[in-house]
Symmetry: D2
Subunit: 344 residues, 4 copies
């Protein structure tokens, strides 16, 4: 059994990791830590876990010591030091935060305001989006787990970019996220009475996932790419829907595009390409690690519309982290991750 | 007092007209009709109206006879005959359906499958989007009240198109609508357990509001325009958010664009241009006739993002119809329409 | 025009008063104050009010000076001093808080922990539930506006208690409230992701509205009454549903009970007794000052079930305050309060 | 592996059984049937099951033939014939409907309008509420799986009744259910725009679960009991909260009552008695087979308030059915049923 520990277990990502690890046949929760709730059982913060996970929150050092793999669910900026400690202790670390996602220190500084404390660690870190970078992940010790939007958008777009069907300039990702993406912390715009029956974009043109999406698209396409990314906040708990728009190159035909997606994702266990006429819906991937993708061609305007749906807390966070853990520990990639999305 | 009648009063648009007319100081509900509930009081269908509107549903002929203005809230295709009857009786008709919205019979046939029964009537009909066509509406007898998306999208885009700030090709309208837009009729995708916690696009590239939006943009810009329009269904009751994307022309500057919108909407009582940094939210226009617009410039990608929010049942349907009634009857345009959006 | 000011205008009750006063033909908002937002326009806190109420938040003294009537929407405990200032300035005060609701200082101390600073003021204060105490309210200067549950429960129960149809002991009020009752302040249990899809009782046997409900029932029935009161938090914005249970006395017949309610509420403009077979629903009173009541007899178990529905922010707070203002200023009681509940 | 088939698999209970069976390590889905969708894959009705359960819907005979255990998720009245067929084929049947729940044919006739087609079958049927009737269930072939309310209410009340702490007369169960309890069929009151932001009781004093709850309480207490049962419809997908009220007998002390519940449920794997001060919440049992119970004593009014929360589709339907299957097939009762309720 893999001993899996969580630093920052009382945030939403940590809580979801606890739930998913309990479904994993070859991993067990070894230790949890929390700054705010040290010394208290996890089930005091999450009463739904009563009698199922009453483990007491300890310190990060405690988690490192007791674990083979450490999931770091920390606010951005706090993972670098922890990564150094994990490396020193010879433990695998899967970072749920952004500290190791951007390869460019300049971009990291621009969007997050920090610096790379130990460039050697950043060299070792790999970006954990298995559908694109599987071979880089296997056997590594430091995984930068992608953000939620940064998983959904490339999954929708990459086959059409690599297939040369669309113009690489002017791509738009109009995304909508459930509120758990904003975390457990309180704020006026996640106050029930204010979000309920509301809907709006936020951080238009300034969301930190922008450079991360661009990095993935640029890395895969071999050319620098810029996109327009607009996230919106949905009055639902879970899910991201990414409606992506790319101008079709002359001659790009629907059948070819669809065939390219089918070929690209044929062996991917967590990507479901929907049949013509269907549309991706966050409802259909809830509580699961699946990504549903639907393709739509606007012939009148010459536009590809590729829509992806994921559960932001699973494929967009904790589930993908376990998928990465499986890769690192050489388990079948789907281990513990195949539960069905509930019908309601 | 203007005598206002409603044909098709038991649908959602009809019900909203009843509510708004009750707030109007110079109009009164004269008669209502309903095919499904003829002979029954409106408050049997809408128990919230008990003791406030117990008027019995009669026949369309009854409504025409008792009214100065007839609001026709009928399924698409049934308004043409009624319009002929209203014309014969010398009554004003404001059609909430699509029969008179498209000027081109060819487009009407392509998107709705019908024909123009009496071309002369179509000649007389004017398209009732007051912010753009106010002068055409005054004093007319047959008003084609716009659809919801077809109000929100042009309000967001027109000043930047007319100002020459954006490329007319490749414009995208990614829209999200509350569920009342789908009406009172039952369907699996508006069943509570299925829409709740769900979110998806629908009728991608095939929604009937596409040619109507294009007609407005083409009419105003003086050139044929095509857009990509993708509607989504939100798990909320009311509201449309239109996130519109248009590529900036070289040299287009944010200050100029903002100034152009300010000038364009300065005297519009129902359009609120939000200050820089704010984002339009459907919550802020609920139950009101306001349209909030926020502007965002993506300098990195050269894209204008114009976001508009309306209440689909008010500015997107019943409220705009009353605004048109006010214009037709030469009342101040805001009469009866200035109630504040509730804070929650 | 009555000059109406609000102390504590940026809380939810204050915001709702602003909305309702704008609908009142004989009152106008004269001034607003807020501790947290002094010097800022109200529309900065409530962007839906932009261009409709951009009044700047001032000080309480400012409000008193500019107003004929001061609505005090303050946290419990802060109203007593303000009341003294209003009295000194000869202004009417309608207190939305609890400081003047309980006649017994002992009960006030037990449930709220405070004391009566000026007993003379408490002598003058009248409890503003018009359906029961209308004659006491007219012309008074200090009105204690009831709480939300304390309006809904007595309206459901009083006719059956006064009619002698039910046992006064063992009465149960199982109540469910929308989340706006918890106010604008942030808390974990009103965080969207935690309340959404959740439902639970809170403050079971310890909610501060208990003695207030008992005071009303005891006052009207002339005997000391105790009830069991259990509130629950609903994942909706507005509304209170009170499902009240009282054991039927031997011989109590449904027709008699129904007739007693009809007689009791015949002339009440805001109480709608539903026909047999219908059930009160919070949906049907939203945004309105109406109270819907449905009666159900469980013959098998000998139980009266009386269900009332109000909008907690209107009849349960701001609307009732305006109803009281109308009484104090000798206006028709329904002035400004007759807008229809929307159908959706 | 137990071969488990479902007759009526396209209803909500059937769909939930499919999801839960997929988590069961010793059972596998053998066949499904559906009247409305015969010949179509289950994933056409439930697109979230795509690639996970594309099994085609066949006939009931097909299901019986291929299965060791048949779950019958049929409208009330259709199970009796199927039970005879299962008996003839020597297959276990677990009936999700009401046909075999009531022991009294008279009561069945009164509440459901039907008769017992084969009294011998009714003799063999056992009522499958394991926490109370475990010993009767083991090894049986025909299990009447309880309804949702009829699971939640007795779990909340029985220890206090058997312990003699409360009066058996005048007990009230004020229950609130998520909308999946109403099933997949369309109706006006489960139309999104009408249930959203609404809340009301339904079938007051006439819900068919009344005699079933009374049967359980009478059976266990050894005396005929009648209760007042009022269900309400919540705008959430899943969950039942039962707030139960029973008058305390003189001398009943909180500590004793709590100790009695602790003793009663000490070895029950699916019942979680919450500590003093906590309140049961449907959120904390979602998607799980747990029943949370909180106890509250109203000393002022002499009332016990026992609150239980279950997921209506799991412990209130499909999960309990699998718990019964485990008992029948002599597996550990918790097999396949221990997944954690998600935190959000």
């Amino acid at each position: 059994m893999i001993k899996a520990g969580i630093v920052g277990a009382t945030g939403y990502v940590g809580a979801e990791l606890v739930r998913l690890l309990a479904l994993h046949p070859q991993a067990e929760l070894s230790a949890v830590s929390s700054v705010s709730f040290e010394g208290k059982p996890l089930s005091e913060v999450y009463p739904m876990y009563r009698s199922l996970c009453d483990m007491e929150c300890g310190s990060p050092a405690d988690v490192i010591e007791k674990s083979d793999v450490v999931f770091a669910a920390l606010p951005h900026g706090l993972s670098q030091e922890l990564a150094a400690q994990c490396a020193a202790a010879g433990k695998v670390m899967i970072d749920m935060g952004a500290d190791f996602r951007l390869k460019s220190e300049e971009a990291y500084h621009e969007w997050y305001g920090g610096t790379f404390l130990d460039p050697a660690l950043h060299e070792q870190a790999v970006y954990g989006l298995p559908e694109f970078f599987r071979s880089r992940i296997k056997g590594k010790n430091l995984i930068a787990n992608p953000g939620c939007y940064t998983t959904a958008v490339p999954l929708a777009l990459v086959p059409s970019i690599l297939g040369g069907f669309v113009e690489p300039a002017g791509i738009i990702a109009d995304c909508k996220s459930g509120v758990t993406g904003a975390g457990r912390g309180l704020s006026q715009n996640t106050h029930y009475a204010e979000l309920n029956e509301g809907f709006a974009p936020y951080k238009v043109t300034s969301h930190r996932h922008t450079p991360e999406i661009e990095q993935t698209l640029s890395d895969l396409s071999g050319q620098p790419m810029k996109i327009t990314f607009v996230p919106h906040l949905l009055p639902v708990n879970r899910g991201i829907l990414a409606t992506c728009y790319a101008r079709l190159k002359p001659g790009a035909a629907e059948e070819e595009i669809r065939a390219a997606y089918e070929a690209f994702y044929r062996d991917e266990p967590f990507v479901r390409l929907l049949p013509k006429g269907a549309a991706a819906n966050i409802k259909n991937v809830k509580y699961s690690n699946y990504c549903d993708i639907s393709l739509h061609i606007d012939c009148r305007a010459g536009m590809l519309i590729a829509v992806s749906a994921i559960d932001n807390m699973v494929k967009g966070a904790a589930g993908q982290a376990i998928q990465n853990m499986n890769l690192v520990f050489d388990l079948p990639e789907t281990t513990g991750l195949l539960s069905m999305p509930p019908a309601f």
